[in-house]
Amino acid sequence: MTELSAHDLRIEIGDVVVCRDLCATFMPGQVWTILGPNGVGKSTLLRTLAGLYQPIAGRVAFDGQSLVDMPRRERARQIGILFQDHADVFPLTVTETVLTGRHPWCSPLQGESAVDLERVDQVLDEVGLDGFQDRNLFSLSGGERRRVDLAALAVQDSAVLLLDEPSNHLDPRHQVTLLGGMIDKWRRARRAVVMVLHDINLAVRFSDYLIFLYGDGKASQGLVTEMATEAHFSRLYDQPMGHYQAHDRDLFFPL
């Protein structure tokens, strides 16, 4: 089984203890969401799972092998991450940007092949950016730019997908049909998805499992059906939360 697993993770950023002794196993076909108040280190946990941040103690492993022992390119073929934001300095085109996602699969001197370009066109179509191939990044809206990021992650074809606030800048239709559609597709393709979201209702709607980070180093995790209750969310966010049902969905909101 090609699962991503965290073993006794202790992560700190300065004075903030993100988690102590966190253990979790992200199996293929599962969708997880990390929830917690601002500044508890959700993004840092995600970057640790990607092998980009070193925990104080414990280790992250893919398929039993510690990420620190994995060759970089091999790790990049197995684990892809979507960052919360981006700072474009030079005006690459949409195609050029999405092609960067194919980097782990190309040898240093060999350019991307026609197959790679075909894959890019196919994914751009999926994210509704067909015809944007030659557009300059600087000419895109926030939501379009976000979809370019999603496309670049999708063409990486990694077994594990880590998403930091993937719904940022997306309108409701794109949140549900596009992002939701991509997540469903990844689930069916037996990929493991771990994301950070601020929208509780999207988290409940998309995920199988939730991880709560409370901010004092404590964490809890479980099936979304067990975790998603008014009491749990109220405690997590230190804010009374309400709940109602409509259209066969559980919806949560701050009181």
Partner: protein, 327 residues
């Protein structure tokens, strides 16, 4: 593969040849090509042969090398610092070279000694900034930029100090060195090799440069060893700059503006930006050198002034043209 715009590279090669042709043909002396031809074929020395082969050719070759080095160094530096305003001199390499060269001029050293002192100064500055910026092991772009900029202004103060205290007789030579000037000796194979090596390394890492441009963390997540890559960029750009500065002084503007001109015309894919910058930088400097020695003949202007006179309007024109409204 960015095949779409790769056809610009052969065009630029052609441009280099055309520029070099003009540079050999034009000057204060109307060249009698018959004599040059006979000098080449029959080895018969003549004034015209000497002017073309002994003066104009070396200067054109030097101009190409220096322009190419500075433009490639600038392109690399802009990615390394993730800052479009970066140029080869921003981290103090040229400042170190200038202080070395001015000291050598003050001491009355010969030309070779001046170049040597400039090289030592440049490499010294390169190493100091690198070790200070790395600090505890992690070096962010901001920290590197700040360290380099502070170092550069320190060198700038040193330059002013040396100019203030040096005797009148040396001042003109010092100022000309600072403004940049091309010698009339053919460059050694060392410099040509250095430029070729710099180009080779840059093209080899060019795809990783595209990734680094989209963010350091993102590049790392896609399998790039960013610490190694940034060290490679820093030293490649630094050594190219040092070599250019010791050959021709601190010629301004080429390293800042040529990579941007290339990006505006060919696009931002660094597999094309790097070789394109080399060729375009070479062209700009060959033409600048030609203008510098002909426009006010028999007086000669420092090349650095002409690069700015040609580069600024070109850049502004391209920038304005590219600022098209959305969609």
């Amino acid at each position: 593969m960015p095949a779409r715009r790769a056809y610009f590279l052969p065009l630029l090669c052609l441009g280099v040849l055309v520029a070099a042709g003009f540079s050999l043909a034009i000057g204060t002396i109307e060249v009698d090509w018959q004599q040059v031809y006979q000098g080449l074929v029959a080895g018969r020395p003549s004034l015209h042969y000497e002017v073309v082969m002994g003066i104009r050719l070396p200067r054109a070759v030097n101009a190409f090398l220096v322009g190419g080095m500075l433009a490639v160094a600038g392109a690399l530096m802009q990615v390394l610092l993730r800052n479009p305003l970066a140029d080869p001199y921003v981290l103090g390499v040229s400042g170190g070279a200038s202080v070395g060269a001015l000291l050598a001029i003050m001491l009355g050293w010969a030309e070779a000694g001046i170049s040597g002192a400039a090289a030592v100064g440049a490499l010294f500055s390169l190493l100091v900034v690198f070790s200070l910026a790395r600090g505890a092991g992690h070096w962010s772009s901001t920290r590197l930029l700040l360290t380099g900029v502070v170092m550069a202004s320190g060198w700038g103060a040193m330059v002013s100090f040396l100019l203030a205290v040096s005797p009148e007789a040396h001042l003109r030579g010092m100022l000309f060195w600072l403004m940049g000037d091309l010698t009339e000796r053919l460059p050694g194979g060392f410099r040509v090799g250095l430029l070729a090596l710099g180009l080779g390394v840059s093209v080899y890492v060019a795809r990783s440069l595209n990734l680094l441009a989209t963010g350091e963390q993102r590049a790392a997540s896609l399998g790039v060893n960013t610490v190694l890559l940034r060290s490679i960029l820093y030293f490649t750009a630094g050594v190219l700059t040092a070599s250019a500065v010791t050959l021709a002084g601190a010629i301004g503007f080429v390293g800042l503006v040529v990579p941007h001109i290339v990006r505006l015309v060919i696009g931002a894919d660094h597999r094309l930006v790097v070789p394109g910058s080399l060729l375009a930088g070479g062209i700009l400097l060959i033409v600048s050198e030609l203008v510098a020695r002909t426009i006010m003949a028999p007086n000669e202007l420092p090349v650095g002034i002409v690069t700015a006179f040609i580069g600024v309007p070109t850049f502004l024109f391209l920038l304005r043209r590219s600022a098209t409204p959305r969609s």
